[in-house]
C-alpha cells in the first residue's frame, strides 16, 4: 500500500513534467500541423538557461524556473522566425525534418557550452517530509512544488485558452485553419503566442527534471518519446488532452515498476502510444491526427 502511494507521488511528478512538454507539442501540432521533434531539446536548453541564470546571480534552485521560461519563450519565437517561418509554405514533413535538425543543433550547443557531464542546480540531498498520517509516506518538498506549480501553469493555460481573445483564436485556428483565415484571425500572431507558451512550458518541464534529478544534454531527448505518447494519448492538437495524457503516461510508467524492471519505463510509454495509435488514433479528446 505504502509502495503504491509512493509510486503515485513519483507518477504525478513525472506526469507533471510530461504534461508541460505535451501541451506545447499538442498546440504546435494543432496550429502548424507538424510534430515538433526539437521539443525535448527545448526542455534541455531551458533547464541549462535556468542553470546559467542562477549560477550568474548565485540564486537558489527555484529561481531557474522563471528565468528558463522567459528565456525559452524568446528562443522559441526566435527559432520560429529565423527557421520554421520560412518553411511554413512547404509541406509539414519538411518542418518535421527541420525540427529534427534543430534538435541536434540545440543539443550540440548545450554540450558545447556546458559540457556533456551531469550537472545539478544544488548539490547535496534534500530530506523528504515524513507524512505519518499517510502511512509514513515520504514526500520531497521539491516534488510537492513540481506538482503544485504544474497545476498552477495548467490553470493559467486553461484561463488563457478559454477566456482571452487570442487563446480562443488559437483553438479556432487549431479547429479550422481556413475558416480562421476567412474570419480575419491574424495567423502570425497566434503562431507567435503558440511558441511563447510551448517554449515556456518546455523550459518548465526541463527545470522540473533538473530539480528532480540532474541536468544532462540528453535529458530532454530521452523524455521526448513519453511526451509524444502523452500528446497522442490525449488527442494531438488538444492541449487539455495533453494534460490528461501526461498524467496517464507518467503514472503508468511509475506504476509499471511494481511489475517489471524500472529500465522498461520508456517501453511502457511506447507501448501505450502504439496501442493508442492502433485502437483510437484520434486520442481520448478526438484530436486532429
Amino acid at each position: 500500500m505504502n509502495e503504491i502511494l509512493q509510486l503515485l507521488v513519483y507518477g504525478l511528478v513525472l506526469g507533471s513534467v510530461l504534461a508541460m512538454g505535451a501541451i506545447g507539442v499538442s498546440m504546435i501540432f494543432g496550429i502548424l500541423r507538424f510534430a515538433h521533434f526539437a521539443h525535448g531539446d527545448f526542455m534541455t536548453l531551458g533547464a541549462y538557461l535556468g542553470l546559467a541564470f542562477i549560477a550568474a546571480f548565485g540564486l537558489g534552485a527555484w529561481w531557474a524556473l522563471p528565468a528558463a521560461m522567459l528565456g525559452m519563450a524568446i528562443v522559441a519565437v526566435g527559432i520560429d522566425q529565423l527557421i520554421y517561418r520560412r518553411l511554413r509554405r512547404t509541406q509539414p514533413v519538411i518542418l518535421l525534418i527541420s525540427s529534427f535538425g534543430m534538435a541536434l543543433i540545440l543539443r550540440s550547443l548545450v554540450q558545447l557550452i556546458w559540457g556533456s557531464d551531469n550537472q545539478t542546480y544544488v548539490s547535496g540531498i534534500q530530506f523528504p517530509w515524513r507524512l505519518d498520517w499517510l502511512g509514513g509516506l515520504r514526500l520531497k518538498p521539491d516534488h510537492a512544488w513540481i506538482v503544485l506549480i504544474s497545476a498552477g501553469l495548467i490553470v493559467a493555460v486553461h484561463l488563457f485558452l478559454s477566456r482571452t481573445r487570442l487563446g480562443k483564436a488559437m483553438r479556432a485556428m487549431s479547429d479550422n485553419m481556413d475558416l480562421a483565415r476567412i474570419s480575419g484571425i491574424p495567423a502570425e500572431r497566434v503562431i507567435m503566442m503558440t511558441w511563447i507558451i510551448g517554449g515556456a512550458l518546455a523550459a518548465a518541464a526541463g527545470v522540473f527534471l533538473g530539480i528532480d534529478t540532474r541536468l544532462h544534454p540528453m535529458m530532454g531527448w530521452t523524455t521526448l518519446l513519453p511526451v509524444f505518447a502523452a500528446a497522442i494519448l490525449g488527442g494531438i492538437g488538444r492541449p487539455y488532452g495533453a494534460i490528461v495524457g501526461g498524467m496517464v503516461i507518467g503514472l503508468s510508467m511509475e506504476m509499471s515498476t511494481l511489475l517489471i524492471s524500472a529500465s522498461y519505463k520508456p517501453a511502457v510509454a511506447f507501448a501505450i502510444m502504439v496501442l493508442m495509435l492502433i485502437v483510437r488514433p484520434q486520442g481520448i479528446f478526438k484530436g486532429t491526427l
Binding site: 480562443k168 479556432a172 487549431s174 479547429d175 479550422n176 481556413d178 475558416l179 474570419s183 491574424p186
Partner: protein
Amino acid sequence: MSTLLEARDLYGGYGGNDILKGVSLRVEADEVVVIVGPNGAGKSTAMKAIFGLLRIRQGQVLYRGEDITNARPEQMVRRGVAYVPQEHNIFPSLSVQENLEMGAYLMKGDLKPRLERIYQLFPRLAERKRQPTGQMSGGERQMVAMGRALMIDPRLLMLDEPTAGLSPKLIDETFVQIQKINAAGIGVLMVEQNAKQALAIASRGYVLATGANRHEDSGAALLADPHVAEMFLGG
C-alpha cells in the same frame, strides 16, 4: 443605388489550370445576387477568387469603386465583406458564442451589441450559447456559420450554397433569413443549387457554365426563361 462589388472578366484557378475563364458580375448595395449553374461551372471558385482565397491571374475586382484584386481575406473582412464557405464553416470545438466572437476578431470595442443582434436574428443560438457547435444539427451549424459572418456587420455577405444538405423546411427558413438580412441593408452574393427558390428571392442572377458567364438577368426573368429552366433548373 451604388455598386458594392464588381468583378470584371476574371481568370484564375489552381496551379496552371484556369477554372475561371472570364467571369464578370456585379452586386448593388441593396441586392440579392444569385449565381447558378451546373457542377464544375466555377461558381464556388469565383466566390473564393473574389474573397482572396484563390489567385486571380487576370481581371479586376472592385469594391465600392476601389481596386481590391487579390486582396487578402483579412483585408476583405476589414472592408466589410464576410464570406461563408459551403463546408467546414464553423469551429466545431468552440461554443456558439466563441464562434461568433471569432467572426468579430478584427473588430474593436464591445462585442455585446453585435452578439445581441445575432441572437435576435437566430433565437435558437441564444438558447445554446455555451454549447460546442460540433454537436449541433446541420441547420443550427448553418446559423452559427452565418452568425459568425454577420458579426462584422458587413456591407456585403457572400454565401456559398447556404442550403446544402438542409431539409426542405430549413431551406425555406434559410431563404427567409437571407431576405431579412438583405432587408437590413446588407448586399448578398450567393451560390445556390436550389436555383428556383434562390432566383425567386434574387434581384438578379447569373448563370455560369464552364467558368464563364452564360446568362444574366433579373431573378424573375431567368426563372421564366425556358432555355435557362431546361438547362439548369431541372425543367
